[in-house]
């Protein structure tokens, strides 16, 4: 018996925050490879404190639906899950390379395989590209286009920017897009000036965020000049300073994210059978609008 618990931030104010977490959990549940697929949240219910007891299996794979290694993945989640003896050194990570650590949960005695966040997994690169395909409606997207990967960024934690730069570099290395840039909300280079960083007339902008909310639907569209008032929405593509901007909204809503969650669990030793292929095929069909 193995269970998958997807943990995410959640929100007291915005129901969209948990929506991708639920959607990916449903996708994985459908494959039937886990006896139980559960979701737990910092701000919603079941809480991180109580989610493990809702899962009646001895073996639990916990995958954080977070973008980078940092405060939540290193402190808050292990503390709230009561992972006994947790120390960040258990991940032996350079800020991008956490895979898993196996620890007992103090209150339930379960064996917890605590995985690195989805955002730093190599498979996330494919999700960013698929997100670009989805928003442009072009499965061959790349030639003649620029791609901006946008992160929150924070001066407080270098890992936040590392994850963004990591994927930007991997996409660059594929020589698929004419230009690839990593941009940030809260640090330089800033997404506000997106058009200054691209020569390409057409630019796809993919924010590396888990859920749509205040940042991805209000701040970034207004900061980039896609709209004067977020409440009126923004066109896709939008014309800004002679560029055509395809803004995709949060990458975390892309159905292919479910595959990254499975990758994380598989890397930690979960038996995921053929689920990855099933999920990838379904996500591809969704991206093509089938």
């Amino acid at each position: 018996m193995q269970a998958l618990v997807i943990v995410a931030h959640g929100s007291h104010l915005n129901p969209d925050s948990a929506a991708p977490t639920y959607a990916h959990a449903d996708t994985i549940r459908e494959t039937g490879v886990f006896d139980v697929v559960q979701t737990g949240f910092w701000k919603e219910e079941p809480s991180l404190r109580e989610v493990l007891r809702t899962v009646g299996t001895e073996e639990v794979y916990v995958v954080p639906l977070f973008i980078s290694e940092g405060y939540f993945t290193e402190q808050v989640i292990p503390r709230e899950l009561r992972l006994e003896g947790w120390d960040v050194s258990a991940w032996d990570s350079d800020g991008l390379s956490a895979t898993t650590a196996t620890l007992p949960a103090a209150d339930t005695g379960q064996t917890i395989h605590y995985c690195g966040p989805v955002g730093t997994h190599p498979a996330m690169t494919d999700v960013i590209i698929q997100r670009a395909e989805t928003v442009t409606g072009d499965p061959e997207i790349g030639p003649g286009m620029g791609l901006a990967v946008v992160g929150h960024g924070t001066e407080r934690n270098a890992n936040s920017a590392k994850a963004i730069e990591y994927h930007a570099q991997r996409i660059r290395d594929r020589d698929r897009f004419d230009e690839v840039q990593a941009l940030y909300m809260d640090e330089e280079p800033e997404v506000d000036d997106v058009t200054e960083f691209f020569e390409s007339e057409e630019v796809v902008v993919v924010p590396l965020f888990i859920a749509d909310g205040f940042h991805t639907q209000e701040d970034i569209p207004e900061d980039m000049g896609l709209t004067d008032d977020y409440r009126e929405g923004y066109p896709v593509p939008a014309s800004v300073d002679g560029h055509r901007i395809y803004y995709s909204g949060a990458v975390g809503t892309e159905p292919l994210m479910a595959e990254v969650i499975l990758e994380r669990a598989a890397d930690a030793g979960a038996d995921v059978g053929t689920a990855r292929a099933e999920v990838t095929a379904a996500a591809g069909a969704a991206a093509r609008g089938d």
Binding site: S11, H12, L13, N14, P15, Y22, D26, W42, K43, E44, E45, P46, S47, R49, E50, V51, R53, T54, G56, Y71, Q75, V76, R79, D107
Partner: protein, 332 residues
């Protein structure tokens, strides 16, 4: 040989009468062994509670299950029933819809998740145990496995916490250790003293606001006087909403009090209380448009604003300070 837990040997040879007599036990065994589909011990104990397995004999239960056994769980009425072969099914409705007809049929746990997300006015429900579950739906004769899933979305973790409590093993975390555990922006809630925490519990954790029964106190030695409520399932520690609101109150409580001077008629003074009550109880929207007898009536409040607000759109009042304090304030 055929015997049951409640009789000695029924018979030592098989005949129709003997088989009929033991049938309820056989059906019961068959259901729980092969049909139930819920394997987690807490879930199975919850299902047994729903049919009063601890207090009724098997034949009594089978008889009662034919007409249905109802249990209240938050705002839910969960009715367990069984067909002639002992196969259990469960019907879940809003308690206020017990006898309603024309209800929207729901089927899956994911239906329950969607149901739990918004209240009847379409507002997001951040607290699943708030008494704001909308009405008008029914899960009719669903399996045990689905029932446990439905309850898991409508009242998350209520089954395992109830189960732990039944075994005298509920791991309560009081306010103090909860506050001490916090880091980041919530680290400051440690500043709230027992009096303020009393007010927090009275504000957030009473039955009108949350259907969980508060079992946590200020700390193990310092109980809170406010009633923890009568809920069927326990609240084992301050939830994230209480912690987040606690952070706000921590910053507000840092301000020292001042004495204010404000000019009001006695009726206007009473009106302020009426407005606070109506907002705090969530009844402001229920006051009829033309019911100007109510202090919190919109026209009454608009009139008060016209009369008593200053050019800065604030209530005309000023801190009452001694001459020295006023001078100090003016020249610093």
């Amino acid at each position: 040989m055929l015997e049951t837990p409640e009789t000695e040997v029924v018979t030592d040879h098989l005949d129709a009468a003997a088989l009929t007599e033991v049938a309820p036990w056989v059906q019961n065994w068959w259901y729980w062994q092969t049909e139930c589909g819920v394997h987690a011990p807490a879930g199975r104990r919850y299902l047994r509670m729903l049919e009063r397995a601890e207090t009724m004999t098997v034949p009594e239960r089978m008889e009662a299950l034919r007409s249905g056994i109802a249990t209240a769980w938050g705002q839910l009425t969960v009715t367990a029933s069984a067909n002639g072969e002992g196969r259990r099914r469960y019907t879940v409705r809003h308690t206020d819809d017990a006898d309603a007809s024309g209800l929207e049929p729901l089927a899956t746990p994911e239906d329950a998740r969607a149901l739990a997300t918004f209240d009847a006015q379409g507002r997001y429900r951040p607290l699943k145990s708030a008494p704001s579950l909308r009405r008008g739906w029914t899960f009719t004769e669903i399996t045990a496995r689905r029932l446990v899933g439905v309850i898991g979305y409508l009242y998350p973790a209520s089954i395992p916490n109830w189960d732990r409590e039944q075994a005298d093993a509920l791991d309560v975390t009081h306010w103090r250790p909860t506050a001490e555990r916090q880091t980041g922006i919530y680290g400051i809630i440690e500043e709230l003293d027992a009096t303020a925490v009393e007010q927090v519990a009275a504000t957030c954790c009473v039955d009108e606001e949350c259907l969980k029964r508060r079992e946590w106190e200020y700390d193990a030695e310092t109980p809170l006087a406010v009633d923890g409520g009568t809920g069927a399932f326990p609240c084992r520690e301050p939830c994230s909403l209480v912690v987040a609101a606690g952070r706000k109150w921590t910053t507000l409580e840092r301000e020292a009090t001042e004495t204010y001077e404000i000019e009001l008629t006695p009726a206007e003074a009473a009106q302020l209380s009426a407005v606070i009550d109506a907002v705090a109880d969530g009844t402001a929207a229920d006051i009829r448009e033309a019911d100007v007898g109510e202090g919190a009536n919109r026209y009454r409040v608009r009139y008060l604003r016209e009369k008593r607000f200053d050019a800065d759109d604030q209530l005309q009042m000023r801190p009452k300070r001694g001459l020295v304090r006023r001078l100090v304030r003016r020249f610093t």
